[in-house]
Symmetry: C2
Subunit: 210 residues, 2 copies
DNA sequence: TAGATTGTTAATCGATTAACAATC
DNA sequence: TAGATTGTTAATCGATTAACAATC
């Protein structure tokens, strides 16, 4: 099945389906209709059926969806059965928080090394990781076939580091730096922009008080 | 001017305008046309004009937009001229990273206190903050007129803490816990869901390799 | 079988893009 | 004034919702 050109709107709903189905599974519930799922997840039943049918007919008329099967299928669609290796650049507060973040393993991502440019932190240990010198990023990526770079550095210098990651061969960047990275289009960038999130909250709070 | 019912799509672009205009400002550029801005920000010129005109006619025919003025105006639209007080719940790795996050002050948010339930961290100092006992959250919020709660706790217990924040009077929650909080609809919730972001990256990487 | 619920097509709604008159 | 570019209306595109025949 080739890429049917799934819209970003659909893709961003997939993790929500996966999460809610996981919750149901842990409650030992076996099946659910699009209508029931609609009630708990907040999308319309119609949208749920449309979304799922982008990837296949997972349901059964008159019955609904088997929760365990659907959960597994969406996991596969999300690529959670694949495994990826990652390096994290920028071992400051946020970088350390991400490195310690458990959700990683569940998604099949494994952080292999932490890098920083600050001599004061190079050599320190964060859990099982010794913080390595940024000078050796390229070498490490090439030798260890790293798939993903996680950028937890300030805005300044982030683009340059992204260039280095891409040149060394990573295929994806999880970017926490507050800027839009410029990379060749075969490299995937997923942004987590705290500033934009905070500004959105600020806007909504202001509107709410009017 | 009452709320013209601006769509979320527009609202989420506002921080990007603000950021790019700030960058231009720092380069001492004085004016820009929607076409030029389009080239650097990546939205169509038409969309930029539509977006801005939701809030007022900030441009001038034949000239374009004055960058400093527009930057200021969008800042006001985002409510960055307002100030809000916040408490942070959950002083783990991520919580500490957020507490140390500088972008806060620029947005008019001030963290007043950190709370945690773990006796091992209560009393510790993070920068200027002593970590307080979660038992006193409500008391603190009421006495200090706190506007916003920042939730940096695991999924378990997050809903209960959200309830406590809302009951104590916060009007907004910046939620880093990986679940959808249930709150009365006069309370704003802005989610930062690292798991969903990571899963999206996983999906896109997988598709990219097909 | 009768009832329930899917998969899918058609209708609607909303967001983006194009076009151009207004005007600086 | 002539040229440039906005503000805004109209056209298009895409996403969501509604409807219902298929079928378990």
């Amino acid at each position: 099945m080739a890429n049917k050109n799934i819209s970003m709107a659909v893709i961003r709903r997939l993790p929500k389906y996966y999460r809610y189905l996981g919750d149901l599974l842990r409650k030992d519930i076996q099946r659910i209709s699009s209508k029931e799922l609609s009630d708990i997840i907040g999308f319309t039943a119609s949208q749920i059926r449309q979304d799922l049918n982008n990837f296949g007919g997972f349901g059964q008329q008159g019955y609904g969806y088997n929760i365990e099967d659907l959960h597994t299928e969406i996991g596969k669609i999300l690529g959670l059965d694949k495994s990826y290796s990652a390096v994290l650049i920028g071992a400051g507060n946020l970088g350390q928080a991400i490195a310690n973040y458990a959700g990683f393993r569940n998604a099949g991502f494994e952080i292999k090394a932490l890098f920083d440019a600050n001599p004061k932190v190079i050599g320190l240990k964060i859990r099982e990781f010794e913080i390595l010198d940024s000078d050796f990023i390229e070498e490490y990526i090439k030798e260890n076939n790293i798939d993903i770079g996680i950028l937890c550095v300030p805005k300044n210098g982030a683009q340059q580091l992204a260039d280095r990651l891409v040149n060394a061969g990573v295929k994806g960047i999880w970017n926490f730096a507050p800027l839009d990275l410029n990379v060749s289009k075969d490299v995937i960038v997923e942004n987590v922009n705290l500033t934009e999130s905070l500004f959105t909250l600020s806007y909504l709070m202001k509107e709410d008080l009017l």
